[in-house]
């Protein structure tokens, strides 16, 4: 499966999002702007849920490229300590169990789980007990 876009996350066993660090100001952004002024920086794999919601209706297409058979999905802003608060899907947790402050880690999920060639998007899942802080 292919990433939904180039340069979003690293190609490693435990992928990380790729941020952009402004070479002049040091400020971080995500995604990295296509601009030499921004140095590519892998972001923290782990963080904590800062806020969240559940997308209960199918977004309009375009721009949405997910399945026609819609299933609600959770979306969160996740605080990567000392770096950024990043938006992403939440996976591997029941909607009613999501809490602000919940420790999570980055993973990749297919945009359309029913399709073998679905593009991969970034998501966060609860950290295992061993990893929870």
């Amino acid at each position: 499966m292919q990433p939904i876009a180039e340069g979003l996350f690293t190609d490693e066993t435990s992928p990380r999002l790729i941020g952009g660090r402004n070479r002049l100001t040091g400020a971080l952004t995500f995604p990295r702007p296509p601009d030499d002024r921004y140095e590519a920086v892998p972001l923290s794999r782990t963080g904590a849920v800062w806020s969240f919601t559940v997308q209960r209706f199918r977004p309009k297409s375009p721009p949405y490229a997910g399945s026609k058979d819609f299933a609600p999905y959770a979306v969160a802003y996740v605080e990567l300590p000392g770096e950024l608060i990043v938006e992403g899907r939440l996976t591997g947790v029941a909607f009613e169990d999501i809490r602000i402050g919940m420790p999570v880690e980055l993973t990749l999920v297919p945009l359309d789980p029913a399709k073998a060639d679905s593009p991969l998007i970034h998501a966060f899942r609860p950290r295992g007990d061993g990893a929870a802080s």
Binding site: A27, T53, Y64, E79, I85
Partner: protein, 381 residues
């Protein structure tokens, strides 16, 4: 510099009007405002106007009359109305003209606004992956606010309940039926914690205001409702805005806080002097957050304010007396001027069944929108 007065106000009812274009709803509002002021179109010396999605305002001279008038189109997102009002007031203060028009109108398709990433300088994947929704952003913004400030879901419902109760009394509102709190709380969830009654919908409508300098207003016998301040401002660093793949961990202020601060300074009054307020309420949490951002209470006090009914028509600070965006819907180009229209009608004591009973002297209106703009107007009589 001349003081500026609002000498005429007109509105085309908000909601859905099949077969009438957005522009024609604007024209209708202008005619209403002219009749209200006892003027004819040929009396108007200049105009600023706009819509977000219903075309260029200056083309309405076809309908109103080819008088050769200066007519400048305004395009400024959710701040169209506030920007037109600012421009018209400033023109009069500068002494260039003494009698002019600010007009806003719109007509949007049904359903949620459909934003595309390219329009916001965002990569395509952001929309493809399902993040390009204002409702989703608003839900996450209020969730964080509730967490930090102890606001309950029930307060989100109380704002909607008040909006529909007030809207039922406003002839220009779209939603004219009260909805009880339990129905609001138990309705279909759109984006948690918001149910379907807690979001406004895109809609249609038009509003026109006629402004005059002091000399003209006195000659007309209409130097009654004075525009004390009109300010439009943009966002500072660290504000939390729609369509953001990431935000800074250093959180900051908001366009609303800046616009409010500056408008109060211009008017020479403070939040304690305001008798009635129309506050941007595209979703119920927006009204709650904006009560604090505009300076009317501290973050978290809204919980108590709402439980005690302080923002009801009979309360200490009535908020959104015509039901706001929740009951009127949001035609972007007309929405900000609707708030000012409502304040004019309330200050005149002409609001009928929704008239606030206490004596009104100073009225406040606030609009907010993407990508972090706010406009505030303060009127007094």
């Amino acid at each position: 510099m001349s003081d500026v007065y609002i000498v005429g106000a007109g509105i085309h009812p908000f909601g859905r009007t099949e077969g009438v274009s957005g522009l024609d709803q604007g024209v209708f509002a202008v005619r209403e405002a002219l009749a209200d002021a006892g003027l004819e179109w040929k009396d108007i010396q200049f105009a600023f106007g706009g819509s977000d999605a219903a075309g260029a305002a200056d083309t309405m001279v076809d309908r109103l009359g080819l008088t050769g008038i200066q007519f400048i189109n305004v395009k400024n997102g959710c701040a169209v109305g506030g920007s037109a009002l600012f421009a018209a007031a400033t023109t009069i203060k500068a002494g260039e003209f003494d009698l002019g028009l600010a007009v806003g109108f719109d007509k949007h398709p049904r359903g949620a606004f459909n934003a595309l990433p390219g329009e916001y300088n965002l990569p395509d994947w952001y929309g493809e992956a399902g993040y390009m929704l204002t409702t989703q952003f608003f839900a996450m913004k209020i969730r964080r606010y509730m967490h930090e400030n102890g606001i309950s879901a029930r307060s989100l419902g109380r704002v909607a309940e008040k909006a529909f109760r007030n809207g039922a009394l406003a002839p220009h509102a779209w939603r004219r039926e009260p909805v009880d709190l339990d129905t609001i709380m138990n309705a279909t969830m759109v984006s948690d914690p918001y149910t379907k009654f807690m979001f406004c919908s895109p809609a249609e409508g038009g509003v026109a205001l006629i402004l005059a300098g002091e000399k003209t207003a006195r000659r007309m016998g209409r130097a009654t409702i004075r525009l004390r301040a009109a300010a439009m401002r943009t966002r500072p660093p660290g504000s939390f805005e729609v369509f953001a793949p990431a935000i800074s961990i250093e959180r900051g202020g908001s366009a609303t806080r800046i616009a409010a601060r500056d408008a109060f300074a211009l008017a020479g009054v403070g939040p304690q002097d305001i008798d009635i307020a129309q506050i941007q309420d595209t979703e119920t949490g927006a009204e709650i957050m904006h009560m604090a951002e505009n300076g009317f209470c501290r973050d978290g006090e809204q919980e108590k304010w709402l439980a005690e009914g302080r923002t009801e028509l009979s309360g200490a600070l009535p908020v959104n007396t015509d039901g706001g965006c929740l009951a009127c819907g949001e035609p972007i180009g007309a929405s900000g001027l609707r708030q000012v229209y409502e304040n004019v009608i309330q200050l005149r004591g002409a609001a009928g069944r929704r008239q606030v009973a206490k004596r009104l002297k100073t009225a406040y209106s606030h609009v907010y929108g993407a990508p972090g703009v706010a406009a505030v107007a303060i009127l007094s009589r």
